[in-house]
């Protein structure tokens, strides 16, 4: 018995150990970006952080790009070019170039990641306006050399302002593989990306709540969202419309909105989620009941009689929600996730799979009902 175990141990030693590398022999990829290449199908850009890089800063950041036909090819090329071995263990952000996403060409590229949870476990997916390199470089600043915070920053921005979507790789793959809802990704770009038209149209809303004046040459900002039909990007929603869509998907927590009042003046209010939206779907008709708390921040006194203001704001939100849904229906994107409720009506997977939900969605009639609890300067700005 003992001899047997000894022989096994000996075999174990003969077999060699699991491959390992010292922790300082790696360079850690923080962000991965993919866009259309010029000579090859993909241009892969990675933001690499080398811990312990220089004497005075602990971390050194570099942006490296390679053109390739597939991810593995790009990985090999980058590895060959870079002195340390690249590790994706700490990758936190995947940026998909808008040019690629419009054709859905990123799916073939991303196939590599589906089988590698150590890669996608941390990834947050954003859509960017190319070039990706500019976006990544815009993120590197001297103020905070620790770029790993970008990921949480995107999440925090979404949580705190509602102006951008916060989508992990898991949710993104779920949206692509399943027809219950369509993906909505945070939208980022360097400088002039704001020129992209919002698909809802009508009034021109800024992507961000205010109007950001960009002065430096490279400065990346994230706001608004890119919406998808399956794996194809079909348009962009600005910050306000993103906020309204998130209200229906129950991803909205709080945010600020400007309203134009009947007398032409503007009002700033902070909105808070009060409870999960109630969505009912029956015979091609849906009702959405939202309950929000609105705290008027500006002007200092209520501009109208409380009930009249409440009714006005509710109506305005309902109208805007209907307009956003209409725009989304037009581009065949179920970003609000009505499919989740349609799936509940089936008692077998085969029936659900046979159902052409997207066709139903295009003609879906939805009535929104918003209830606001109005307060004035209670929670502060």
């Amino acid at each position: 018995m003992r001899r047997f175990i000894l022989i096994l141990l000996f075999l174990l030693l003969l077999s060699g150990c699991m491959q390992s590398k010292n922790i300082d022999e790696y360079a850690y990829v923080l962000n991965v970006g993919v866009e259309r290449g010029t000579t090859m199908p993909y241009l892969v850009t990675v933001l690499i952080s080398v811990p312990g890089g220089t004497e005075d800063t602990k971390v050194e950041n570099t942006v490296v790009s390679a053109e390739a036909r597939s991810f593995s090819e790009a990985y090999e090329t980058l590895n060959a070019a870079y002195p340390s071995r690249l590790s994706f263990a700490r990758a936190s952000l995947l940026a998909i170039g808008e040019d690629l996403a419009k054709d859905g060409a990123q799916t073939a590229f991303l196939d590599f990641a589906f089988g590698k949870p150590d890669l996608w476990q941390n990834l947050r997916v954003v859509a960017v306006k190319p070039p990706v390199r500019d976006v990544f470089e815009g993120w590197i600043s001297d103020a905070d050399p620790s770029l790993r915070k970008i990921k949480t920053a995107v999440g925090d921005l979404s949580d705190e302002s509602g102006m951008t979507a916060d989508t992990g790789f898991g949710a993104y793959t779920e949206a692509i593989g399943d027809k219950r809802f369509d993906a909505m990704l945070a939208y980022a770009g360097a400088n002039e990306y704001r020129l992209n038209p919002d698909i809802v149209g009508g009034e021109t809303y800024p992507y961000t709540g205010g109007s950001l004046l960009v002065e430096s040459t490279l400065k990346t900002s994230t706001a608004g969202s890119a919406v998808f039909d399956g794996d194809r990007m079909v348009g962009v929603l600005d910050g306000r419309h993103t906020m309204e869509t998130l209200m229906v998907t129950d991803a909205f927590r709080k945010g600020e909105m400007h309203f134009t009042l009947p007398d032409g003046s503007t009002m700033r209010a902070a909105l808070y989620r009060m409870r999960a939206p109630r969505i009912r779907l029956k015979n091609g008709e849906a009702t959405v009941e939202l309950r929000l708390e609105a705290d008027v921040l500006e002007p200092k006194t209520l501009p109208m009689e409380r009930n009249a203001l409440k009714a006005y704001l509710e109506t305005q939100l309902e109208t805007e929600l209907a307009a956003v849904l209409k725009a989304l229906q037009r581009v065949n994107c179920d970003a609000m996730g009505f499919g989740r409720f349609r799936a509940k009506q089936f008692r077998s997977a085969a029936d659900w799979e046979a159902c052409d939900w997207k066709a139903e969605y295009r003609t879906l009639r939805v009535s929104f009902s918003v209830t606001l609890m109005l307060s004035h300067g209670m929670k502060g700005a």
């Binding site: 699991m18 922790i23 312990g52 602990k58 971390v59 620790s146």
Partner: protein
């Protein structure tokens, strides 16, 4: 062919291992077979004393090699002026003044006229000998052993029986303070090399009539005196018989100590964990005895062996029960965490750094990498090197006298560590981890268990550098299983947690002292807590 297959599948060795919990209801096995055969051998070798003094003298000269061994004092005298007699004692072991004052002086004065030769020894004992502890025997073995112990044998001509008088008076160390098991609240007494003193120390704490100190001598040529101390009627009789049986199997020419006796009678030779608790504190041994355990004292060894033990015994310190329950619970918890840290932390760090860097957060990763910037040793080598250095400093500190030992600790810890970091041999993070490990190691109260933890630590480190967390898991699981299968004198190591015993002690970390009436449950003694 059929036969070959049958033999392949049918080799069987009976699995007969002493199991206290399991075998107890089925009755006790017979134990004394070997002891009797050994006695028979001794009888053949020694036999009985002779009636003639000259024959006995010749036997003593031969046994003790008196031609070269000048330690043996042969003092011929005439009992009552008429009967030829001989007092035999060992120089240095026996007290000269006691022999002169209480044996020789009354021997010269006693009148033995008219006393029959056969009744002379008992007459002398009853009428003249002013010694407290005396014994009559005609067994040569007993006489021989008595002389080696420092007693005096009085041999009379024409009488078979010898009188053994307790004249032991050799120098010994006074009762001192414990050196290794420090406590803040407990008593400050420690065992000495004198087995008699040790028994007395125990008796002073266990003031019960059923407290038995069973003196026995070990097997082999150098028959060291052992004492089994237990509460008769409380201790599990099956356990007692088993311990006696195992002690009887000892046949060695080595000098015996508690540690050696443990290895001679234990079950699992290759288990790093001790199977007997060695303590230098009489209060600890006494509490164990009162809990239904057995304390084993060995002549010349300033420690007592307590058996059987469980993992809880090894993790307990003498003053645990002196502390209040909530505080005691926290202290015990910290000790457990310390033990776990000391065993697993270096291996876990190695596994993460070598195989799973993604598991470390960015901040830790950066700190670790920055600290390793100029270190030339691979990480696993660095860790194992530092662990060995730590053991080295510790061993060096142990073996040199007190104040220098502390100095070595400081030199090793501060100077060497600092120098190694600035010479880029080791990185600060690894140094911190090894220091934490060392601190955790000292939280384990028992020295043998500390050494066992160091053994497992090294094993886990090697496994972790080979296969990361997989290696740690495999090694840890095997070690846990082996410990679960191990028993200390029939008591499973993890009792009362696994197997769970009837008392609900395992549900609480440290029970209220009010609930600890009675004896320890896993040993199945009388009057146990249930």
């Amino acid at each position: 062919m059929k036969h070959a297959i049958r033999t392949l599948f049918q080799f069987d060795q009976p699995y007969r291992r002493f199991e206290l919990l399991e075998t107890e209801p089925r009755g006790t096995p017979s134990f004394f077979a070997r002891r009797q055969t050994r006695r028979a051998k001794i009888k053949a070798a020694h036999g009985r004393m002779d009636q003639r003094l000259t024959a006995n003298l010749a036997w003593i000269r031969e046994r003790f090699h008196t031609d070269v061994n000048t330690d043996v004092i042969l003092r011929p005298f005439k009992l009552g002026g008429t009967v030829d007699a001989l007092a035999v004692s060992m120089n240095g072991m026996a007290d000269d003044s006691k022999i002169a004052e209480f044996i020789l002086r009354p021997a010269f004065r006693v009148a033995v006229d008219g006393v029959a030769r056969a009744k002379l020894p008992s007459y002398f004992r009853e009428h003249a000998l002013s010694m407290h502890e005396t014994e009559l025997t005609d067994r040569r073995e007993a006489v021989e052993q008595a002389i080696t112990e420092g007693r005096t044998a009085i041999l009379l001509d024409g009488v078979k029986e010898a009188i053994l008088c307790d004249t032991r008076g050799f120098v010994s160390r006074p009762v001192g303070e414990p050196q290794n098991e420090m406590t803040i609240m407990g008593p400050k007494e420690a065992f000495t090399e004198n087995i008699r003193t040790n028994v007395t120390l125990l008796r002073r704490i266990v003031k019960r009539s059923d407290f038995v100190c069973e003196f026995r001598d070990s097997g082999g040529t150098n028959r060291t005196r052992l004492a089994l101390c237990y509460l008769d009627g409380t201790v599990n009789p099956a356990l007692l018989d088993e311990v006696r049986r195992r002690l009887d199997t000892i046949s060695t020419d080595m000098r015996l100590t508690v540690g050696r006796v443990e290895q001679l009678i234990e079950d699992y030779t290759y288990l790093p964990l001790p199977q007997m608790l060695k303590t230098e504190r009489p209060d600890r041994a006494a509490s164990a005895v009162m809990d239904g355990r057995i304390a084993l004292l060995v002549e010349g060894c300033p420690q007592a062996g307590v058996l059987p033990i469980t993992i809880g015994t090894l993790m307990a310190s003498g003053e645990d029960l002196d502390m209040r329950q909530p505080v005691g619970t926290v202290v015990l918890l910290i000790r457990m965490i310390g033990a776990l840290l000391s065993t697993y932390l270096p291996a876990y760090f190695l596994a993460l750094a070598l195989h799973h860097p993604g598991q470390l957060s960015g901040e830790i990763l950066e700190t670790v990498v920055a600290s390793r910037a100029m270190v030339f040793l691979p990480l696993w080598m660095e860790m194992i090197f530092l662990l060995l250095v730590f053991q080295l400093v510790r061993e060096a500190g142990l073996r040199v006298p007190g104040s220098i030992g502390q100095a070595i600790g400081i030199i090793g810890g501060l100077l060497l560590g600092q120098a190694a970091v600035s010479a880029n041999i080791v990185s600060t993070v690894v140094l911190i981890i090894v220091a934490l490990t060392g601190l955790g190691n000292f939280a384990i109260p028992d020295y043998s268990a500390q050494v066992a933890a160091a053994y497992y630590r090294l094993l886990l480190c090697i496994a972790a550098s080979l296969a990361g967390l997989l290696g740690i898991m495999v090694t840890g699981l095997c070690a846990t299983a082996v410990m679960c299968s191990a028993k200390s004198f029939g008591v499973p190591f993890f009792a009362p947690y696994s197997p769970v015993t009837t008392h609900s002690e395992h549900l609480r970390f440290r029970t209220r002292i009010r609930n600890r009436a009675g004896t320890s449950d896993p040993l199945n003694p009388e009057g146990r807590r249930a």
